[in-house]
């Protein structure tokens, strides 16, 4: 857990956890979290398992987005993704690939992405977020759901979401699914950025008024939290997938 003091008024408590699929190595995990406490930008990207170089694409999207000062409008995001995609494809030049890797590389890489920027310089903090795919931002207050997007229900997740493609020729259609939202926070609110399996699981808990899920994510140490998510995946309550959980709690700073 880390603490970021972004303004004279607000504190952020940030917690993050990334786990690979059960029986997989951490190096095989394609979920990525990026945090930039300087500009209060946070992102989760989930590389598509079937895509070429998915981990690098997810890593690039998340880490470069939180360092960016833009890419929070449709036009900016599209331009920014096209640039990042070109750089990714350039990095493959000169590789000696087998026929199947060559075929795979031709379609480029894909990842789900969600990023949020907080404005803490006001009496009521404002978040603005952008998402494409099935990685979600979930805004909670007192353990209850305020807003979840781009998907809002646990049964909305399917196997073939529209994703962020590294190949710009696919952007014409894909960017139609880009979602941009904003909202206001109160002291004690939490924002979660979650990859798809854990997002679906979390929304199902909230739909069942299981407020303990939120508390659990807040109070348990990393080892117990890892064991908890492993148990959920073994039991089938959560799909066996990589998972990324980024929890940002916004607190009014205590005046000394």
């Amino acid at each position: 857990m880390s603490s970021a003091k972004q303004s004279a008024i607000w504190d952020l408590q940030v917690r993050q956890l990334v786990l690979p699929k059960l029986d997989h190595e951490p190096s095989e995990c394609e979920d990525v979290i990026a945090v930039n406490t300087e500009n209060s930008r946070f992102a989760v990207a989930d590389g598509a398992t079937e895509a070429f170089d998915a981990r690098n694409w997810a890593e690039r999207l998340a880490s470069r987005w939180v360092e960016s000062e833009s890419a929070l409008t449709v036009e900016d995001f599209r331009e920014w993704v096209a640039r990042e995609g070109r750089e990714l494809h350039d990095s493959w030049n000169g590789l000696s690939l087998s026929w199947y890797s060559e075929e795979k590389a031709r379609t480029g890489s894909f990842a789900a992405f969600v990023g949020v920027e907080l404005d803490l310089m006001t009496n009521a903090p404002v978040w603005k977020a952008i998402a494409l795919g099935d990685a979600c931002m979930v805004h909670c207050r007192n353990g209850a759901l305020v807003k979840s997007f781009p998907l809002s229900r646990s049964d909305s997740f399917n196997a073939a979401p529209v994703l962020v493609a590294s190949d710009a020729s696919m952007h014409e259609n894909a960017m139609k699914s880009l979602v941009i939202e904003s909202g206001e926070c109160e002291s004690g609110d939490t924002l979660f950025l979650l990859s798809d399996a854990v997002a679906s699981w979390f929304l199902e808990r909230l739909e069942k008024n299981d407020l303990a899920a939120n508390d659990f994510l807040q109070t348990q140490d990393d080892d117990r939290l890892k064991q908890f998510f492993d148990d959920e995946r073994v039991s089938g309550r959560m799909r066996n997938d990589d998972l990324a959980v980024l929890r940002v709690e916004i607190q009014h700073r205590r005046m000394s």
């Binding site: 029986d23 070429f52 026929w99 199947y100 075929e103 031709r106 190949d167 020729s169």
Partner: protein, 292 residues
């Protein structure tokens, strides 16, 4: 059932069972230039290509599938040759590494700005067309059952084996009903073996695709094949819907008097497994230009 996640620890098994009898050398009706055997070999090679690509993780092919291609005609046995010869079941990574040849072509695709560009593509070849002898369907299903039984001993859990059987005629060694039922009675903790049958015809006869009952079937042979065709699980129905195929709850994985497009869809649906998006290679056919 039919919901187990396919992983390297819990792979699944896919068997492509192909009629290679003498009649497969005949053309489809209305297309005298194209032999059935040539077309089927092409579709099988594309299907293997698709399975490899699905399992490709950057520069590694993960063994989510163990694959078999069994042909029957003058003999019954594996269609693999070269380094894979005599192998009944081959992990997909080895299939990837040992095609007989890799052809190079160009494909025309959208450039995203209203125009078209030609990109190089690879077409690996694992099997060549064959058409000779009778139609020993029962022997072929018995061989398939042996392969499946052996595989299940090592893999009792996970997504069950899928057998995609393609034929152009009646069995020459008896009614396949009994051996087909025996094959379908095998399975894993996630469900029984899936046996799907596609019958193709050189005649201009009305085709029947993915029926729920026997009423529309013309004869006893068709009814036998229907009875040894598994119901399409939910995920396969979803794949059929994506391809615009009319399959509903209770539909069997069965085609009778199919045409070339039926064959392509049969393999696309039959390899969709746990809800994977069907691989639509046929769309590109018209824009392909063979170079080598």
């Amino acid at each position: 059932m039919y919901s187990a996640q396919i992983t390297r620890a819990n792979p699944t098994c896919i068997i492509l069972l192909i009629d290679q009898s003498g009649s497969m050398a005949d053309p489809f009706s209305g297309d005298s230039s194209r032999k059935k055997a040539d077309f089927v070999a092409e579709v099988v090679n594309h299907t293997l290509h698709d399975l490899v690509i699905r399992c490709t993780k950057t520069e590694e092919v993960r063994n989510y599938y163990h694959v078999s291609v069994i042909g029957y005609g003058r003999t019954v046995g594996t269609c693999f040759s070269g380094p894979l010869r005599a192998r009944n079941l081959v992990p997909i990574s080895e299939v990837a590494d040992f095609p007989l040849q890799v052809k190079s072509s160009y494909k025309r695709v959208s450039d995203g700005a209203g125009g078209w560009v030609e990109i190089p593509v690879r077409y690996p070849v694992w099997i060549h067309p064959a058409a000779d002898g009778k139609t020993p369907m029962c022997e072929a299903l018995a061989r398939t059952k042996e392969i499946v039984e052996q595989w299940l001993m090592a893999h009792p859990r996970g997504f069950p084996p899928t057998v995609l059987h393609l034929t152009d005629g009646e069995s020459s060694d008896g009614d396949p009903y009994e051996i087909g039922q025996q094959l379908m009675s095998l399975g894993t903790d996630d469900g029984a073996v899936l046996l799907f049958n596609c019958h193709i015809s050189a005649r201009r006869a009305a085709k029947v695709e993915y029926p729920t009952g026997e009423n529309s079937l013309p004869d006893g042979f068709a009814r036998s094949l229907f009875q040894i065709s598994s119901r399409l699980p939910t995920n396969f129905l979803a794949a059929a819907a994506q391809l615009g195929v009319n399959a509903v709850e209770g539909s069997r994985g069965f085609v009778f008097n199919g045409d070339p497009s039926s064959i392509v869809q049969f393999y696309e649906i039959g390899t969709s497994l746990t809800g994977m998006t069907p691989y639509r290679w046929m769309d590109d056919e018209s824009t392909r230009s063979e170079l080598t």
